[in-house]
């Protein structure tokens, strides 16, 4: 299960809406081993594409270094789908490389309602998990 503070969930949705129709992506960092997302980090989608995302490599290096220095890890890795459902695609599954992370998918295909779902992706196997929003 993913427990996520309402404020962080709202920031992810706002980022996805803002970058629509391109895919938005980013990270929620939290203390290593805590499974608690605490810090919102919007990342640049180096692909600037409606169908693909990739973290900018230089930015990723700085952000990962920063997390390491602060004893944090990427608790959540999020990105948006802008024309399809909030479910991991074949590419999402094949590139998933953080077995400890919650992969959050947001769909902005409907301009009113935003789908917000969370998954574990380990060795090519996708498992959806419930999302609990905490105040």
């Amino acid at each position: 299960m993913l427990r996520i503070p309402r404020e962080l969930q709202a920031k992810i949705v706002a980022h996805a809406r803002q970058d629509h129709p391109d895919e938005a992506c980013g990270v929620l960092a939290g203390p290593a081993g805590s499974d608690r997302p605490e810090r919102f980090i919007a990342m640049t989608n180096a692909e600037r594409s409606p169908t693909f995302y990739r973290f900018d490599s230089a930015e990723q290096f700085r952000v990962w270094q920063d997390m390491d220095d602060q004893g944090e890890e990427p608790v959540v890795i999020y990105h948006s789908h802008t024309a399809t459902q909030a479910y991991p695609s074949r590419t999402d599954i094949s590139y998933a490389s953080e077995p400890e992370a919650h992969y959050v998918l947001v769909s902005t295909r409907d301009s009113e309602a935003t789908e917000f779902r969370s998954y574990r992706i380990v060795d090519g196997v996708v498992t959806e998990e419930p999302v609990t929003v905490v105040e």
């Binding site: 693909f52 995302y53 973290f55 490599s57 998933a96 400890e100």
Partner: protein
Amino acid sequence: MAIEVRIPTILRTYTDGAKQVEGTGSTLGDLFTDLETRHGGLQDRLIEGGSLRRFVNVYLNDEDVRFLDGLDTPVKDGDTVTVLPAVAGGAR
């Protein structure tokens, strides 16, 4: 002194869980060959068809080696090499 190599979580199965390993070599490619002698299987996760795998980022100190010379990038004692899996995906 040697070259320090930082290994991401997903590749630590090849390093007995170690977050950091050391190696030697005059280029990045040499360094990976040297690491392979002690951490079998690692090289294949980094290199494909003679060049770096597309979805693996390798940094020499703080520079992405794709913007240097890739596997031919010279390395020396005291350098730090960081491996990070690219974070990527898409709608298809």
